[in-house]
Symmetry: none
Subunit: 525 residues, 2 copies
Amino acid sequence: MARVYLYDTTLRDGTQRRGLSLSLEDKLQIAQLLDDYGMDFIEGGWPASNPKDTAFFERTRGQFQTAQVAAFGSTRRKGILVDEDASLRSILELEVPVATLFGKASVFQVEQILETDVTENLRMVEESVRFLVEHGVTVIFDAEHYFDGYRAAPDYALAVLSAAEAGGASWLVLCDTNGGGLPIDIRNGVEAAKTVSRLPLGIHAHNDAGLAVANSLEAVAAGATMVQGTINGYGERCGNANLCTVWPNLVWKMGFEAGRVERLKDLTRLSRTVSEIANLAADDGAPYVGENAFAHKGGVHAGAVRKHPEAYEHIDPAQVGQTRRILVSELSGRSNLLYHFDSLLNAEQIQALVEQVKQLEADGYQFEDADSSMRLMVERSLHHVPAYYGVDRFHVSVTHDSTSICEATVRILVGGARFVEVGEGAGPVHALDEAMRKALTQVYPQVRDLHLTDYKVRVLNGRDATGAAVRVWIRSEYHNRVIQTVGVSRNILVASWQALVDAIDFLLWSEEAPSRHQEAVESQA
Amino acid sequence: MARVYLYDTTLRDGTQRRGLSLSLEDKLQIAQLLDDYGMDFIEGGWPASNPKDTAFFERTRGQFQTAQVAAFGSTRRKGILVDEDASLRSILELEVPVATLFGKASVFQVEQILETDVTENLRMVEESVRFLVEHGVTVIFDAEHYFDGYRAAPDYALAVLSAAEAGGASWLVLCDTNGGGLPIDIRNGVEAAKTVSRLPLGIHAHNDAGLAVANSLEAVAAGATMVQGTINGYGERCGNANLCTVWPNLVWKMGFEAGRVERLKDLTRLSRTVSEIANLAADDGAPYVGENAFAHKGGVHAGAVRKHPEAYEHIDPAQVGQTRRILVSELSGRSNLLYHFDSLLNAEQIQALVEQVKQLEADGYQFEDADSSMRLMVERSLHHVPAYYGVDRFHVSVTHDSTSICEATVRILVGGARFVEVGEGAGPVHALDEAMRKALTQVYPQVRDLHLTDYKVRVLNGRDATGAAVRVWIRSEYHNRVIQTVGVSRNILVASWQALVDAIDFLLWSEEAPSRHQEAVESQA
């Protein structure tokens, strides 16, 4: 089976999407996932344009099993010697195994944008590639604007490819930089490239005409063996080719080997995790991984799917870590709950839980990422969770003039005792968290070791603006165990409070019986 | 120039999308738009499955200039006489000029889902088509599962087409019902259909493999002359072929005539209006019509677009009613700022601004979606923005016991006067917003017409949990103008406060001089 190499540029081209910016920690977390899923190349960033990317290359050096980390950069500037080019030199300093250099493959771009002549551009390409290759770096050459350039002046576009090959490039990647090409343009361009070079070819497609996936597949059908793309299709303007679509298409529809094929069954998780890290809403309509991808609404469809799933499904949803959803059906969600709680609940209790979850989801709760809140809800319904403490009231006060002061007071009852404590914080939620801890650690010292490690806020129904409901999600850790909880309210402090209380309750409940540690962990798996 | 007929099924297949339901008034409004844009066919609904659709056909009878309204229905049930079929009779009662009948073109579907034999299915197709045609209805035959059926048993799929033709169908529409086909499958299927029939062919593609647009274009390239699709690609599961992408591709990339071509320049409005009516968030990444479709973030791109827009744009944004957006971010540097402020600032000031933006972004600000805050920053640095008011202090108090009470007080100075006001709200930000408005409208009545329309919170460095900094982004509208502002603080109320104040200041500043309306709008373009 022929192999197609997957080249992920989520961390570089992906971040060109409007509204997407990633911290160093975000990038490291995504890169780890990409390696785990068997991406062949991870483009880490463009050191010349973004100095903080240097840290990324340092932190990932030698860390990955499968993936090679590539630095991105351009050919040398016009009219200088190649070793005077600060950007190329900065790539060498990173000690990366692979660099992806982009150069112009279009006469229009060379003359009008670079404002140099076509011969100098050929020198820029060849000399830049050679400079890195001679210093031991494997070079992938991205021929920018190749397809537009080829249409306007085919000989020159091909001459640029030859210059990169002469410099010692290992790959020639043909770019539809403006994203306006049709599959036929892609085929013509790839076939022409094969007439001038025997180097392996890659495709870099953008989605401005809604064809990035199709164009990537067409290039592969025409002989390319590398696809550059991003998770969820993030990227400049309308985005890059979506690897969450390209990858399963290559493997299941076209019979290629690509990535770590056995991880495709968790493709949905890859997509969702990256969108969570990017703090962008997931695209419900996305092929394979979208919330709707296997959601059947039409009565005819739903009926048929019950008999024979393949009647209206092009693949088995489990192949990408999805589940079938039959909409407008009281059964939706049931099987998931059954899966987790079959041993705890009887049929009637499961049904009651389905109803409760439905109502809470309609109110804005979401339990996919809040297993601990889900588990608590089930255990509370079985009266397994005692009232460890009662909260009489809390009060938060923020005063802002030349400085700001945040104070929170809580009144908590445990047994017959009453604890009134005050906390200060950088913001109101912080103050509330401090006050709770001060009160509760007096009775439950284990609360001291509960650390909040992530906190997210999502505004529901944004159109209600500052009066809208918000969902707060909190991730806590306790001795390496993860506790994820959720709260919803029109008051952000109340929503945060609910999620905090759930985290503490879950900790106390799971600590009560040692066996629950493992149980709790498994229910989250 | 050859014509491709556009067949819109937003009102039928579109509503199979999860979360999409349309009232009769919604449908009428969308149909009016579709006619205005020159769609050739509007599929109004499936009367047999949805009795309220009858009213739609009554209300639209004879109403449209271009579009023909089509009723959707299936071939007769197995084992009955055709004139006993209630569903077919209900189509006749509608007195529609066109009916679209779907029938199975796959042996698997006939035997396993319909549970009948292949010969009976051929009779069902032929008799049902003939029944309507003999009563004066033009019939478009949708060959359901045609491509899957053709792959498994080509002769039978083609026999179904012949049966429809024998019955008197005017069109044969080949359906990739499960959406899993590749362009090559589509080409093979269309070419095979041409060998058995000279009727005009149509394509109905779904997007489960991310290829609905490509497959539609491939079918047209192979000879189909009708494309069925929906506005914004709404539809069952991953949706149908998106007409907002297919249409401009057909006209501008492939040279066909389709729809009312002069209305393409308002394509973005069509897309946005339909998503407003459907009450679904617009897809920012959508080709041609998405908010990001002509948004340039990379510094290299922005610099080049400033010289020659076509450097990174596959079409002129005005062709689809769009405007170019140059985003300001840490990735962009000088060129993006130059693009906006070239006429206002000298080189030294631009450089200072670049440094300031970099520092603010390091602190967590993000300006790419907050043009108004960006503009204010520039104008403030030029001392163009007076202190319209001073905020002495604000105080927010939240008490939560059996209920929650949120109150905010503000002390504001305008000239010599001092305004102390209190606001109540569902949450603390809401209360603060109310208090500010109460105080300021006494001096600046225009603040009353400033409406907050969206509010987002992003927790920065989530790992600092409840002590982390947050970025608040607010979108406001003032008489159809959009004002987008941002605030950052470790205290969510302070961050919200900053964004609120910026929105108000921007409004007051741009209202001061009438010329600034246009300027402000342009700087956001």
